[in-house]
Symmetry: C2
Subunit: 304 residues, 2 copies
Amino acid sequence: LRFAVLAGGTGSAKLLRGLKAVAGEFTVISNVGDNFWRHGLFVAPDLDTAVYTLAGLEDSLRGWGLRGDTFNALGQLARMGEETWFNLGDRDLATHIFRTEQLARGRRLAEITSMICERLGVKQRVIPCTDDRLETYVTTSTGPMHLQEFWVKNRGEPDVIGVEYRGEDGAKPVRAAVEALEVADRIVFCPANPVTSILPILAVNGIRQAIGRSRGRKVAVSPMVGRGPVSGPAGKMMRAIGVEANSLAVSRLYGRLVDCMIVDPADSQDAKVIEREGIEAVESPILMRNLGDEARLAREVMTA
Amino acid sequence: LRFAVLAGGTGSAKLLRGLKAVAGEFTVISNVGDNFWRHGLFVAPDLDTAVYTLAGLEDSLRGWGLRGDTFNALGQLARMGEETWFNLGDRDLATHIFRTEQLARGRRLAEITSMICERLGVKQRVIPCTDDRLETYVTTSTGPMHLQEFWVKNRGEPDVIGVEYRGEDGAKPVRAAVEALEVADRIVFCPANPVTSILPILAVNGIRQAIGRSRGRKVAVSPMVGRGPVSGPAGKMMRAIGVEANSLAVSRLYGRLVDCMIVDPADSQDAKVIEREGIEAVESPILMRNLGDEARLAREVMTA
């Protein structure tokens, strides 16, 4: 069976770890909206989180970066008076240095990501949804700012009025991502912030259509438990785009793209409405506290 | 008294440390011929050695890089299959990342070097001889290669047929370097490999002329003791350009640019010939084993 998995962020990493344990081969189509240039290097946090997780090198406690990494280069940049609010470990820097050098040589992000996967021994394919510039910008009361500036530099504190995906009009999908979606027997939407992880992927021209053309079953895992997200700024972001922060609203954001929503038993009220709206709802615990939880939920998305 | 110091490499760093201890203020005009792009970053080893030394951050045992640095980013690059024969510490990488970002923003090397000096608390001025591309290439029996490829990657082993300074026709001097030379009361040629540290500085159009225009006394320290250099590939390089590897030959390479050569007492035969050729020769131990030696030789170049 061919799985294509839409992923971005820490909840996605947990499900990817579960899928790695129980499914083995699959294709990850990663968000790129959180990519940005930092200290002159091209940083791709969601992409790297997926790659590091599948390589078994991830720092699973922090949810980002490499396990056991040090931060001496960043400390020196701070000493030099640079703003160092975005954490970059020394080993992690190797990835950004490599990627930036390859971009300067004219290689595209998807190709470079394949190279990194191969060199780190990742068996699954990890594909950015687009090679083009697509950046999630958050409109706050003090103006627009990049997602990383909002979430990391300003700790998610500013009021959010809206969200835009800069570059979405021109961003073309990576061909291998479209093909993986078209031939997939199952397409999985990871439990992720819909606004900052999944919708940016769907904003790339041709991705929605490829999912629509697929005959595979489309299963989404809600990132919400009860009246809010498991972690992160999903609630604030969803309210900013004018919807509530619950599993029903997530289901409505994905709409007819998905056949089945996995929601937490705490959201059985939402599940009933989701069913009435024509999407199958499966109740299953979505909190992943350890590899056992991750593998169990992975099996659920493979069979639901 | 205004000192201008031509510098490059590890012998120069020792004299700079001595000058810092006894002279305080001076201007360093640094070699750039060993600069090169590595992993997509612009690395300037001689420039950084001068800056780190004057900042008191240098690893004086190794003769390059920052004291107490770690090498985790480089280790990860190696794990990713990159060639990592050029050692770059994690803290050291901060300098290269900063410089490369500033270059990408359109700043010139001299300006960036001033920024680094200021941020690291360096009181002396450190000026690259040129902002333009000037790279020392070594012609070997297997073809030309960058100095770093010859010296670091190939451990100085290939036979050397010749040396060229790529870019010397177009390289313009940094204006502040020319001015510092013109107004200097004393110009010091550090004990350095003439072929790879001093001659590349002199190869920049206008530098020789600025030294010639200066009314200051010009004092050079020989890097040779007896029949060879204190360290490094100076002997091989000098033979490659058709001269012998001794203090007399160094004196002849600098010619009328210098008024006075400081040579080791072991080279008193050379000293006599140097005097006969019209350049004052001062015999003084040039080996610097500790800060005491460094300060003593610094006082010698300040007063000779």
